[in-house]
């Protein structure tokens, strides 16, 4: 079956611009996660959703970052007033539920470059 998909695969923007990154989870997965991976580093947790609600957004670095999942399926990560330090690969994952035994399946990522 189809895995987690993310669009776009690459996004180049200028400092100060607004960007939206999209994630389509595996069908039937109620939990959705966003991570950020900087070059040479491990993924860093940003936020996760159970259904439509953000269950934990403690990893969002500041109020320029926001994520939504209005219908409990597709999610959009929104970044306002982008900065060069936001350049990274943004990974989305989904799982059947949020219990720790539910394996997270990762998408291919969106590579964001802020010039």
């Amino acid at each position: 079956g189809a895995g987690v998909s993310q669009t776009p695969s690459n996004k180049v923007t200028e400092k100060g611009k607004y960007v939206e990154l999209r994630c389509d989870p595996i069908s039937g997965h109620t939990a959705l996660y966003w991570y950020r991976q900087s070059l040479g580093q491990g993924p860093e947790f940003l936020i996760y959703f159970q259904g439509t609600g953000a269950a934990d957004d403690s990893g969002l670095p500041n109020d320029r970052f926001f994520a939504v999942r209005p219908e409990g399926s597709v999610s959009t990560l929104k970044i306002q007033r982008t900065e060069r330090g936001d350049s990274a690969v943004y990974l989305c994952a989904s799982s059947l539920g949020t219990a720790s035994y539910n394996e997270q399946f990762f998408g291919p990522g969106t590579r964001l470059t802020v010039l």
């Binding site: 491990g42 993924p43 996760y48 990974l91 219990a99 720790s100 035994y101 997270q104 990762f106 990522g109």
Partner: protein, 108 residues
């Protein structure tokens, strides 16, 4: 918040040799995960370790978990070039915390 430390960060091995990657974590975690990442690719799940003393093996890779020592290991047996990748351990699901990764290069 769970902290995860891996070592070594870089590992260059000869084909046919054995080596172990170590993963220490700071607080209790229900599960400990190992992932593989090839350059420019996403994360591929290798192992989920559920309890103290758990050992899982797949091909030339074997992972173990010691919850009392807060230590997991990934042992590589008779390395081959195809194992070259970056390996991450992670815990603290659902909001997972990852180690910095071990970049493994297997040379002929």
């Amino acid at each position: 918040e769970l902290k995860v430390e891996q070592n070594p960060l870089f590992l260059s091995m000869q084909e046919g040799k054995n080596y172990t990657i170590y993963c220490n974590y700071s607080t209790t975690s229900d599960r400990l995960y190992w992932y593989r990442q090839d350059p420019g690719k996403s994360l591929e799940s290798l192992f989920v370790l559920l309890s103290n003393g758990a050992v899982k093996q797949e091909g030339r890779l074997m992972a173990s978990l010691d919850t009392k020592a807060r230590l997991s290991t990934l042992h590589i047996t008779a390395a081959v070039h195809d194992l070259s990748a970056t390996y991450f351990c992670a815990g603290g699901a659902p909001a997972m915390r990852f180690g910095a990764g071990t970049r493994l290069t297997v040379k002929p």
